[in-house]
Assembly symmetry: C2
Homo-oligomer: 346 residues x 2
Amino acid sequence: MVDQKSNNKLTIKDIAAIAKVSKGTVSRVLNKKPGVGDKTRKKIEDLIKKLDYSPNLIAQNLASQKTGNIGVIIPHQAEYYLSNPYWPVLLSIITKAAADVGYTILLSTALEEGNVDSAYDFIIKGKRVDGIIAGSEFLGEKQLSTLYYYNIPFVLIGKSPFVQEYYVDIENRKATEILTTHLIHQGYRRILFIGGPETILNVTERVQGFYDALSHTTHSMGIVCHTRYEKPNIKMIIQNQMKNGFSPDAVIAGAGDLVLCTLMVLRELNITIPDDMALASFDTLHLYDYFTPRITAIHQPVKKLARAAFEMLFALIVGKTLIKTDCILPCTLRIGESCREKRIIS
Amino acid sequence: MVDQKSNNKLTIKDIAAIAKVSKGTVSRVLNKKPGVGDKTRKKIEDLIKKLDYSPNLIAQNLASQKTGNIGVIIPHQAEYYLSNPYWPVLLSIITKAAADVGYTILLSTALEEGNVDSAYDFIIKGKRVDGIIAGSEFLGEKQLSTLYYYNIPFVLIGKSPFVQEYYVDIENRKATEILTTHLIHQGYRRILFIGGPETILNVTERVQGFYDALSHTTHSMGIVCHTRYEKPNIKMIIQNQMKNGFSPDAVIAGAGDLVLCTLMVLRELNITIPDDMALASFDTLHLYDYFTPRITAIHQPVKKLARAAFEMLFALIVGKTLIKTDCILPCTLRIGESCREKRIIS
DNA sequence: CTGAAAGCGCTTACAG
DNA sequence: CTGAAAGCGCTTACAG
């Protein structure tokens, strides 16, 4: 048809005109608001369906002063956060939970590792989110003051020293204690704990858990070393500990980001797992089951964490009062073959 | 301060009032448009910086009739597309390329595997993207007619039987030929190719490449089997082929989604790689280097693919005329230890 | 170079 | 129950 307008952008005005009602009335049925007669409502609903009209979300947003978006801030650069299923899973669960209640996710990540400024600016300036879920790493007072200044509801994933409410996290300390205790029970005597940077709260919590376990035994001893996530110097750490007389018979990778690297280093050094050295880790790997031996590890309830974060944020956005302003979830121990019971040699 | 308005939402009106100019003038400097005196421009720029004003993007969008968003449609559900680095990498590269020119990504995925309707509706209705990059899988005439109806520029990742222009892809056929030829040269004689569903274009292309290689030799023969990605029945396939007399000495996993499963099945059946059976794959794995033996594989230039897709879309959006309306990229062969040269037994 | 005004497509008190 | 009108915060011809 020639006269089929190529300008196929139906607006509320068109619908109103065709239905011979006011825009206000159409708006009311669009938003399922009361104050419209049954007949009128039906007529407009039919028309909308027939014409396949859908409202311009941008205009809705501007008029209603709500965006329908929630911002997710991943405080890492893509290369890094994609190396691990943690953030992708978190993100996809949040997206799904948000979609269920009509919200869209706006994702913002650090452009370079450790620099979250741009990520916050991107999301906050421009006023296009109703709330924010952010990873607590690298969250500083600068970002916080911006959040508070713009008065925007937010929930953190992971504790922050600066924030006392509205966060979700896991039982880092307790879980590490459980894992370490397992190693002790399996007969390992000299356990090396490799953790991330000590400036990160969950790292110090895990270290505490490690010491908690050791404090309950006289058979085993432990050593803690820290390294960066992005460029871990695990090889050096392990070699040093082997030379300096501690010579660990078990090593715990204190974060999902460190397991693989540790695994590689052990292979490179021709150290057999678990015969030469046991390996355990906090956090499981992507494709976990595909590694031999499977690595004994603490499993985080990432999906639950994501759902908890979204529910908390949603409550904040709609103004529901929260009874609990935090949510700390327990982890589980998954036993593989990488920490088999030690033969009586030591 | 008590009188520090909690309503801290600076608008263009406020800026105009303070600077004693009109909103139009502020808008012009905001958008770096000509038609403003140097002094006035400087004054306004300083004010904006001082007050840390940033314009409301939603209002900008509505007024300018541009969204600054581009939609990315991943035609899979999260559980599935996260099992493989392909989509996450694609997404993160597109996001970065888009950010460089001021665009934001709106992600939409299938809520259930194979059903992309909602993904398209979500992105297209509501008019909030200036263009779309979509995976070509499951793209049907229904989605296409919607895209054309709304007259929205789009670029496909992967060929589609329905679309003759504006897509990017890799050399599926040629790459598979290269891989298969490598296996033949390594001395493998009975090669099993396990591919995805034959309804998918890249699967049939790869199968063609497989046959291309075989057609150049009289030493080796091949068999092709198809399976679903989400729930591959690889164990059955391999067992059948072992029983029925073909008894392959090499297997090619025809897609990244099938490698791991194949690997697991071989382990389960106590088949050693490569001594009992060689394993090669199209597409590398996440954490590729961490598997022993490393698997010989075709490597796709995913990052290049993503950049090519975005560049093409961007050109379409700004109305630049394209010389090439498609982009087919070559792949490379990565040789691991999973297809070692075969001892002369057969 | 600058301003006044119309308009983007909605929502939402306010009347009636 | 329904409509008319103002307003959300911008942009963009159009004058001058």
